[in-house]
Symmetry: C2
Subunit: 293 residues, 2 copies
């Protein structure tokens, strides 16, 4: 199977899982469920589900178990986007090529869509396709990665940084939490869904995730200044306009490109212990660095 075929098959599965794990629009409150589905379905690169599935292949995880974990990861990711786009945060009106939830619906609905998607992620993770001990382990990974010492904490640091000059280590700390924690959880949850990996395997996967997570952000910063809004599906040039520190603003465009290439090598190197079984993870590192949107 080529990488493109593998990716297409995972994306199809994940879209089906999201469809299944989200409440139907016919269930009351219908408008809230419609808005949750508007936010989640039919868009997005699904990077976290792809990482989850790729890591699960290392430990023989069942695809339907990885689907539940992937749906939960994507719901958490989308909830964070919906809340980040709200007027009191980044105040953005375009996301995944569509009006953001608070523009399409209203602010209160956007707040509730995010809140309910977070709950729904934990509903998906406790589906009986996973055995109870796995459910508990995956819930803990996801809750820690989402909360104040993970994604939400990174968002808080991001907000506090607006208009300030950050050092490169400070910028890295912010991204390690804001984007890195959930990407790391995607890889760990994929691996933990199968036969429990040993500590050294988890350590190698964490090193891979750290490199990929940082590369993801560096490339985001590059694309923000080199690509138009239509291609990105979100507002381009927003970070500079908002006075947010980025890799491009701190180390420049050329050094940012060199850093992304270096991080890709680091990610590949971290996968060495797994040999050919880690092919999909290696290809995903390439995808993250080479993406154009």
């Amino acid at each position: 199977m080529t990488f493109e075929q593998w990716m297409r098959s995972v994306l199809d599965r994940v879209e089906g899982a999201l469809e299944q794990y989200l409440p139907a629009e016919s269930i009351e409150p219908a408008r809230l469920h419609e808005a949750m589905r508007y936010a989640v379905l039919g868009g997005g690169k699904r990077v976290r589900p792809l990482l989850c599935h790729a890591a699960g292949e290392l430990t023989g995880a069942k695809a339907e178990c990885l689907d539940a974990a992937s749906a939960a990861l994507e719901m958490i990711h989308v909830y964070s986007l919906v809340h980040d786009d709200m007027p009191c945060m980044d105040d953005d009106d375009l996301r995944r090529g569509k009006p953001t939830v608070h523009v399409q619906y209203d602010e209160a609905t956007a707040l509730l869509v995010g809140d309910a998607l977070q709950s729904q992620a934990f509903v998906a993770l406790t589906s009986d396709v996973l055995e109870p001990a796995k459910q508990a382990a995956l819930v803990r990974e996801l809750a820690l990665a989402s909360g104040s010492i993970g994604m939400a904490g990174g968002q808080a640091i991001d907000l506090a940084s607006v208009g300030h000059t950050l050092t490169r280590p400070q910028l890295e700390t912010m991204h390690r939490l804001k984007t890195g924690a959930l990407l790391r959880a995607a890889v760990r949850m994929g691996a933990l869904t199968g036969d429990t990996p040993d500590a050294s395997a988890l350590q190698a996967l964490d090193a891979y995730s750290a490199a990929v997570g940082l590369a993801f952000q560096v490339v985001d910063d590059i694309l923000d200044v080199t690509t138009d809004s239509a291609t990105l599906g979100k507002t381009a040039g927003k970070d500079a306009k908002d006075g947010k520190p980025t890799y491009v603003s701190i180390i420049g465009l050329d050094a940012s490109r060199a850093l992304a290439a270096q991080l890709r090598s680091d990610a590949h190197a971290a996968l060495a212990p797994f040999g050919a079984r880690a092919q999909r993870l290696a290809e995903l590192a390439d995808l993250v660095v080479n993406r154009v949107s």
Copy 2:
């Protein structure tokens, strides 16, 4: 032990558990952690933790396990208050006798405090004081009760109801989700923390919770028109001002008082199968109906 002594001892335990399960202010991002603790600690009636502990006594649950479940329940409750108080929702500036989080800090911080408290609830529930199968069962109860077919869904119906005339059944549906779902989860989670109760016991507990949950709301509506803000610790008269349907606006003050008394009887009746072991739950039903704030 008198009810007051029992209550004091549970409240002390729960405060300690919240202190323990919330990240310390010394951990980065410190301002977010400070705001989370500001929202949660040192206030509130802790009705859900009390119900959880009382129900746990029926099934021989360990107090330290009930503490974890109680902390999770209270974090979910407080997150909902923090988000509900935001300008795009109820826009309130007083809660538990203190400025609301978005007033004391800012809107973006209030949004993140709520988001991070929800995650932290699931971190608390997956603490290793509980065995993994219990963790998974409790996470599912709490996630379903919090999300779009529970608390967040009730909030969506509440928002849609502003300025509209609701029938009494519509009002009941709203409260069954908005407040009732989490109160019911508090009772079920307490019971599930101990020796797994049989279906008929859970059914009796659900009937108790339905009566107590509705009574809680009816009394809230009565207090909103009969009590001042200083006593309530939140803005009195707000529902009438916001054009929100309440029991008092639909059936009047006297009929609301009679309904609260009837619901208390219903709650007591539901506990009959448990005999004297359900004493604390019966006393809590009295507390909910007789409270003055």
